[in-house]
């Protein structure tokens, strides 16, 4: 479907809903195309291709609300789908807080190009994609007698979407992605077969780093050989930038409007208060060119803005959408994160490690969870024991346990090794006094 065809169908669906009893309507139509190839033992293991279309519709009927989606996009099916959805909505309870956003908050269509799309998407020769995957495998195949299995993948995709709201919003987005990933398993001690996967991604094909996934994955898998748990203890913890999100996401979830209103947050009524270490300054910046979370409007059509989330540990904002804004009597400021940018310290990862006398450098998490309303957490970890500033030996089969409020109050140092291949641009972070359980 072209963009114009999507707009035409979305407006038709919107009008059909308005004519059949809905007072307000929001319609999204998306197209996604993707392809992937996975190679193993110098053969193609899997070849996949997909083309997907979807229409979703949010209905506001007599102060009642429901939302629906379907992959059946012919008008005959859609008409009936919408009519039945409106009829069914009438059996729900009223909800006075459900409305579309105020039109003055909408994105008006004058924003810059945020660099989210490779305009040459689709021009990459399928044979070249296969060769990229083979080349990644070839980097390491047969290079070490411990190797049990290597698989390498190339994948790409394009997502296109239009949205129309019945009180005057129209907007469209398009973004592309390209990726390469290599996973390697090696013979470890005893029956263990440590494995590691390393990937590279980009928005534009020409910017995809095509070399190195194999060698990095292999080095990291070999480094894990002989990993064992060590004795339990309270120690500093450095968390690698790639995996910080596991312990950072509970903090962000606690700022969500629905979590606040539904009493499932450990940061209720904390706006303007110091809730974390003063080393934590965080900005939500939707306008970074080429940023993975960059966008001009959010899922409701509200224009995005650059906003401070934490300033020297003081909480500056929640994430409030239209619905929870009404329930909480707060101004909506967009209910979802864009690019999250940390104010960094002056140490890189090596310097962070060098600063630790005895602690653990965490390179991976294994399961675990965090209690939304109390912030109590416990996660499985793997990584390396650090002694006198150096990595001494790999560790695994251990847990960290504590409370999110205390953890984020105990930041020792924010690294400067920010990752730019994720919308959450996390650096490595050193935390003090973390409870590890092992032997």
């Amino acid at each position: 479907m072209t963009k114009e065809e999507k707009y035409t169908l979305a407006k038709w669906a919107m009008n059909h809903a308005l004519e059949n009893g809905a007072q307000e309507v929001s319609v999204n139509i998306s197209n996604n195309q993707s392809s992937s190839v996975e190679v193993r033992e110098e053969k193609i293991d899997k070849l996949e291709q997909a083309l997907q279309s979807n229409l979703s519709i949010r209905l506001f009927v007599d102060n009642k609300y429901s939302s629906h989606s379907t992959s059946r996009l012919n008008k005959e099916d859609l008409a009936r789908f919408i009519e039945e959805a409106i009829e069914g909505t009438k059996y729900l309870s009223e909800d006075e807080f459900r409305t579309l956003p105020k039109p003055e908050l909408y994105y008006k269509g004058d924003g810059p190009d945020l660099g989210s799309l490779d305009k040459n998407f689709g021009s990459v020769d399928p044979e070249e994609k296969i060769q990229v995957a083979f080349a990644a495998e070839k980097e390491i195949l047969g290079s070490n007698e411990r190797i049990i299995s290597v698989s390498s993948s190339y994948y790409d995709g394009l997502n296109e979407r239009v949205m129309v709201n019945s009180n005057g919003f129209e907007g469209d987005t398009a973004n592309s992605y390209f990726g390469i990933y290599t996973n390697v398993s090696v013979k470890g001690d005893g029956d263990a077969r440590p494995e590691f996967g390393w990937g590279e991604t980009s928005i534009k094909y020409n910017e995809l780093k095509k070399e190195g996934t194999g060698t990095t994955a292999l080095k990291r898998a070999l480094d894990k050989i002989g990993a064992k748990k060590i004795e339990s203890g309270t120690m500093p913890m450095i968390v690698e930038n790639r995996v910080v999100s596991r312990i950072f996401s509970p903090l962000m979830n606690a700022l969500d409007g629905s979590a606040i209103q539904q009493k499932n947050s450990f940061l209720i009524d904390k706006l303007g208060e110091k809730v974390a270490s003063e080393k934590l300054t965080l900005t939500d910046d939707p306008f970074i060119i080429g940023g993975r979370g960059s966008r001009l409007f959010d899922g409701e059509g509200i224009a995005t803005k650059k906003r401070t989330v934490f300033e020297k540990g003081v909480l500056k904002r929640y994430y409030i959408d239209t619905y929870y804004g009404k329930k909480l009597e707060m101004e909506p400021n967009s209910g979802s994160t864009t690019n999250l940018v940390f104010e960094t310290g002056d140490k890189d990862l090596d310097a962070l490690i060098a600063s630790v006398k005895r602690g653990i450098f965490v390179t991976g998490f294994n399961g675990g969870n965090s209690n939304g309303s109390t912030g109590d957490f416990s996660y499985g970890i793997e990584g390396f024991l650090v002694e006198n500033g150096e990595l001494v030996k790999p560790v695994t089969e251990m847990n960290i346990t504590g409370n999110m409020k205390k953890l984020w109050a105990n930041i020792g140092e924010i690294g400067n090794d920010v990752r730019d291949d994720s919308s959450w641009r996390t650096p490595s972070i050193l935390f003090n006094d973390v409870d590890f359980s092992g032997l």
């Binding site: 193609i44 899997k46 996949e48 992959s71 059946r72 005959e76 039945e84 029956d191």
Partner: protein
């Protein structure tokens, strides 16, 4: 279950009961001898046997060894309650066909959301590219396969109006508020799913399934002073509308309130290695994470599982029997046929302490020279099938729960979980404990909450030193993720003692 044209035109469960629209066109003519059941599925998907054969022939045109078509039409509905009212509903319609071509153990896969012949042929051409010669394919004779019937239901979810579901969700809210004055919020909801599946492959097998599912949950939030805690209760089964009863509402409400109340007094155990007693039921998550995934044959075929060399070897005490079963009546993990059209069975993973079988799909079964075990599953027609669990559980052991508790001086008892994970190669697995108790001198003492337990699969399996005779299946909303695909599963366990695992806690 037989379906008819009328079902197809019900595009959502949101309809007002009694509405009915006539089918837009007449039924197709089929020129081969097929049963009425199969015919109803062909008509449902608006295809003929000739079309199926053409698509398969195109899929095989580049020299593939095997091809299959997986048609799916899924209608999902859900209702949710917040702040005392059932004030939101969601529905989704998914419809399409997945086309897979195998060449040895190589896979080509594509799907189409349109079932017009040209769209299917285009997808078949893409999937065919896994092979690169040219070949002519002679269509096999039809071989109609009658599916099993593990989930008999009385009233299909598509025939139930929103109006009839709303009161149950409302009642669970009201009941929870009635039970305890500390309750400040309730979130509750119900979702149902009706999935029509039809399968055809290059060997001529033509089969089908109708898969109902319903889930019902309640989250209770309580406040005492400054402290806020929440817990949930949930059930999920392959049953029809008749499953919803007042008793079920009471059961959910009581469980959610009890679980939440426990948390106010709960603390954390000491950090470190200790004996762990796993209560009957949901503790089956141990089997799912520690053993189940590492027994999936795709990992073993590639040599990447820690159990790759363990077939026919002793891996546990001889009283231990571990099963993965797709045949439990009305179970969330049951399937009448797997998603490769294969028969489903009760598969012994561990029999009398010996590793008896991996979990196979078509590719791995061929590699190992065994019959498929019916574990080839997929999230939807958009995904290719891979080996997956169904209901994974341990049979009763020779001990009593009293004997098990008496064997522990200091340890933990756990019986309420939220999630788990495993590293297939290293064998390290974890599961997150929502609540349990410290055991001191054989007695339950202080409640505990929110701790992770980590162990190593082969070690933990070997360390199961006692198992009781109180096996329970857990019918919670367990969903398993692998390679980006989610499938419904269940699990179960009798009370067991694992000699030691590493328990999250404090070092104070």
């Amino acid at each position: 279950m037989k379906v008819d044209r009328r079902d197809f035109i019900k595009t959502s469960g949101m309809f007002a009961a009694g509405s009915m629209v006539l089918p837009p066109f007449v039924q197709s003519c089929q020129n081969v001898q097929i049963s009425a059941d199969v015919k109803s599925y062909l008509d449902h998907f608006e295809v003929t046997t000739e079309m199926l054969q053409k698509v398969i022939a195109t899929a095989m045109s580049k020299g593939g060894d095997y091809a299959d078509l997986f048609f799916e039409h899924k209608i999902s509905n859900s209702l949710a309650l917040e702040d005392g009212k059932v004030n939101r509903a969601y529905s989704n319609i998914d419809f399409g066909v997945g086309i897979r071509v195998l060449k040895g153990d190589q896979t080509g896969f594509a799907y189409s959301e349109n079932i017009a012949l040209d769209d299917m042929l285009n997808a078949a051409k893409m999937a065919a590219n896994i092979a690169n010669t040219s070949a002519s394919f002679n269509a096999a004779d039809y071989n109609e396969k009658l599916p099993a019937n593990f989930y008999k239901i009385s009233k299909k979810w598509e025939d139930v109006s929103v109006k009839d579901k709303v009161p149950f969700v409302q009642k669970v809210n009201d009941k929870i508020f009635d039970l305890d004055e500390k309750v400040i919020k309730v979130n509750a909801g119900m979702s149902d799913e009706s999935s029509y599946v039809m399968f055809y492959n290059s060997e001529g097998r033509l089969t089908y399934d109708y898969r109902p599912m319903v889930s019902f949950y309640a989250v209770c939030v309580m406040q005492e002073g400054e402290q806020i805690e929440n817990a949930y209760a949930a059930r999920s089964v392959r049953r029809g509308f008749e499953w919803l009863t007042e008793d079920l509402v009471d059961e959910l409400a009581n469980e959610a309130v009890e679980k939440t109340n426990l948390l106010f007094k709960a603390g954390k155990p000491k950090a470190g290695e200790m004996p762990v007693v796993l209560g009957a039921g949901g503790s089956g998550i141990l089997l799912h994470e520690a053993i189940g995934h590492t027994f999936e044959a795709d990992f073993n075929r590639k040599g990447t599982s820690i159990f790759s060399d363990k077939l026919n070897k002793k891996v546990a005490e001889s009283f231990i029997n571990i099963i993965d079963d797709g045949t439990l009546p009305n179970d969330r993990g049951a399937i009448n046929i797997d998603d490769e059209g294969n028969d489903v069975q009760k598969t012994y993973l561990v029999k009398d302490g010996i590793l008896n079988s991996y979990l196979h799909d078509r590719i791995s079964a061929k590699y190992y020279g065994v019959e498929p075990t019916g574990n080839g599953r997929r999230e939807s027609f958009r995904h290719m099938p891979i080996p997956r669990m169904r209901s994974t559980y341990m049979e009763n052991g020779p001990h009593t729960t009293e004997e098990i508790f008496a064997a522990v001086d200091y340890g933990v008892y756990v019986d309420n979980f939220s999630n788990g994970e495993v590293k297939i190669g290293a064998g390290d697995f974890t599961f997150f404990v929502k609540s349990g108790y410290i055991i001191e001198n054989g007695k339950l003492t202080t409640p505990i909450k929110d701790i992770n337990i980590v162990g190593n699969g082969p070690q933990a399996l070997a360390d199961i030193s006692m198992a009781a005779n109180d096996y329970k299946n857990d019918s919670g909303t367990w969903t398993c993720g692998k390679d980006g695909q989610s499938v419904p599963v269940t699990l179960g366990l009798p009370t067991v003692l694992v000699k030691k695992m590493t328990v999250g806690g404090t070092n104070a």
